[in-house]
């Protein structure tokens, strides 16, 4: 499913008051297959934007258009339940949204809610598959109360509840915040695993520039409710000065590349860690070759 947003506008309250404007004409296309990063300062509109994609925030009249595959979110007849089954949304700190008495009920909720036609037996199968996918043992965990789980387990359950309907598009808003290093690494490999299976497209909102540089195929920078730039991580993160002016950090690889460039050493990489390391030209004496600048 291709996602096409055109000239999206949104205000919290009256648009006449400038400070109410959260989205100020955002146009963005995310192609099927993208692992798409969204970066930008706090308050730049990232969350407001992604919350539009499944209709959580209603597209206002004359406020632009949103198309997700065949779904036209501006159309009165748009089937939002079906949309939400195929575009899954993982919020910030999703573990705070667990509510059911058992893990099973929590994960099954997505099926019951968005796919009411599915049988109980099939639901059970889907819940089992979802919990297994996120690395949890179905038999051991299904009857537990979500509140008795560790933070990391809770987050997995929350994610199982989103992927249980096998969404084609997965949108995640700051999903690694608060995870420990191992939890973060496992989480990212889960995303890649999902991206290689039924999930075709991932949209990831993150403040972690290293994460975006390492994992995303494309990225957009939000600034003051507008899109500032879209491109590959290589294109985005080589705009060193602009990123800094926007209050954004550079990934470590881009930071090093800039420092070396300012010293007359050109490193041409995609800003992944291995890409960077392999692009450094090392002389036999352990020094670094400047190359042509």
């Amino acid at each position: 499913m291709r996602i096409e947003v055109k000239d999206l506008r949104y205000s919290y309250g009256e648009a006449k008051v400038l400070s109410n404007i959260a989205l100020d004409g955002v146009s963005l296309t995310v192609e099927e297959g993208d692992f798409f990063g969204i970066i930008g300062q706090t308050g730049s509109g990232k969350t407001t934007f992604v919350q539009h994609l499944n209709g959580l925030i209603k597209l206002g009249k004359d406020c632009g258009s949103i198309k997700v595959g065949g779904y036209d979110l501006g159309d009165k007849k748009c089937d939002f339940k079906a949309l939400r089954a195929s575009l899954g949304m993982v919020f910030q700190y999703p573990e705070y949204q667990l509510f059911a008495e058992t893990v099973f009920d929590d994960v099954a909720f997505g099926v019951k809610n968005f796919m009411p036609e599915v049988s109980l037996e099939k639901t059970q199968e889907m819940v089992k598959e979802a919990l297994t996918t996120v690395g949890l043992n179905y038999d051991k965990i299904k009857d537990k109360s979500p509140f008795d789980l560790s933070g990391g387990q809770k987050r997995r359950v929350a994610i199982a509840g989103v992927i249980v309907t096998k969404p084609e598009v997965l949108v995640l808003d700051e999903p690694v915040a608060g995870l420990d290093p191992v939890g973060k690494r496992e989480f990212i490999s889960l995303l890649h695993r999902l991206h290689g299976s039924f999930v075709k497209t991932i949209i990831l909102v993150s403040h972690d520039m290293d994460l975006v540089a390492e994992n995303c195929t494309k990225a957009a920078i939000f600034s003051h409710g507008k899109i500032y730039a879209v491109g590959s991580p290589k294109e985005i993160f080589s705009r060193y000065e602009e990123l800094q002016n926007l209050g954004l950090d550079l990934p470590v690889t881009a930071y090093l590349t800039r420092a070396l460039e300012n010293n007359g050493v050109k490193i041409n990489s995609d800003f992944t860690v291995d890409g960077f390391i392999n692009a450094v030209r090392i002389k036999t004496n352990g020094k670094i070759d400047g190359g042509e600048l």
């Binding site: 919290y12 930008g40 300062q41 706090t42 308050g43 969350t47 910030q92 700190y93 705070y96 560790s150 933070g151 990391g152 700051e174 915040a177 608060g178 995870l179 420990d180 290093p181 191992v182 939890g183 973060k184 690494r185 403040h207 520039m209 290293d210 209050g247 954004l248 950090d249 470590v252 690889t253 930071y255 090093l256 420092a259 070396l260 010293n263 007359g264 050493v265 860690v273 291995d274 960077f276 390391i277 450094v280 090392i282 002389k283 036999t284 004496n285 352990g286 020094k287 670094i288 070759d289 400047g290």
Partner: protein, 277 residues
């Protein structure tokens, strides 16, 4: 005697499994301490024990000489130990930002006139002066967390405990808060105990404690701690990314010195290695 002294502290939520086991930690006035450890290793439990939100089952903690075991000291301890937690939504109480920041000092009986001063100080420290009269519900997550930090700063605590409080901030916000915290630490000798998963927040600490399954597994300077890569991995931790990259470059034959922890230092060392010919 250290400002905060924890001796052989143990705590269990269910009287079965110990969330914190035999932990000893001391914090001197003006010290900057970082506590790292995998999720569930007991860091937040420790933070709650430090300001008397919970009491140790075994061992004792004293703050400025006041023991957390004595109920009557709760007030004195809260005044001295301010904790900022992870989730700002659970920490904001009032419907106007300035009232929220004033809440703590008012509860501690700070005179009216001084409260205004403290609000000014705390809000400017976190860069949120503009939002003084706003409603916290209208702020995004990172902005809310800065208000929560301001609320604690307004108590002018001697010890500031940050329990992953920068996890939700953007790089700019995180830098601002770290700057504020470092400034409070340097200029006003506020003791800082920061619990974090950001390894780059650890590299400037005076002392690092590594927790594993409720126990203190390692204690040392950042350089001493990050030298032990394999042990850290065993505890579910990692090196700062710059140190990871330095290691990989060394493995490829780049003649970098050992012990590089920050991107600034790595950039310097790499630039110094530029071949003249």
């Amino acid at each position: 005697m250290a400002l905060l002294n924890a001796e052989n502290v143990s705590f269990s939520y269910d009287k079965r499994i110990k969330a914190v086991k035999n932990v000893s930690l001391s914090a001197n006035e003006g010290e900057y301490i970082a506590v790292i450890g995998h999720n569930g290793s007991g860091k937040s439990t420790l933070a709650k024990l430090f300001n008397g939100l919970m009491r140790p089952d075994e061992g004792n903690i004293t703050v400025d000489g006041f023991s957390v075991l004595e109920k009557k000291h709760t007030f004195e301890i809260r005044k001295r130990v301010g904790v900022v937690f992870q989730n700002p939504d659970n920490q904001l109480v009032a419907s106007i930002v300035e009232d929220d920041v004033a809440f703590g000092p008012e509860n501690l009986g700070v005179p009216r006139a001084e409260i205004k001063e403290r609000i000014d100080f705390a809000l400017s420290a976190v860069g949120m002066e503009k939002f003084r009269h706003s409603s916290p519900t209208r702020l995004s997550g990172g902005q809310k967390q800065r208000i929560a930090i301001a609320g604690v700063l307004a108590l002018k605590p001697k010890i500031l405990v940050l329990d992953e409080s920068t996890a939700m901030l953007d790089p700019q916000g995180r830098k601002e808060v770290l700057q504020v915290v470092k400034k409070l630490n340097k200029e006003q000798k506020v003791t800082v105990i920061t619990i974090t998963h950001y390894m780059d927040e650890v590299v400037d600490a005076d002392t690092v404690y590594v927790m594993n399954d409720g126990e203190i597994a390692l204690k040392g300077t950042p350089a001493e701690i990050f030298k032990q890569k394999d042990r850290l991995k065993g505890y579910g931790l990692e090196l700062p990314l710059a140190a990871e990259i330095a290691d990989k470059l060394i493995a490829r034959g780049v003649r970098l010195p050992d012990g590089i922890l920050t991107e600034e230092r790595l950039a310097e060392e790499l630039c110094a290695l530029k071949s003249k010919i």
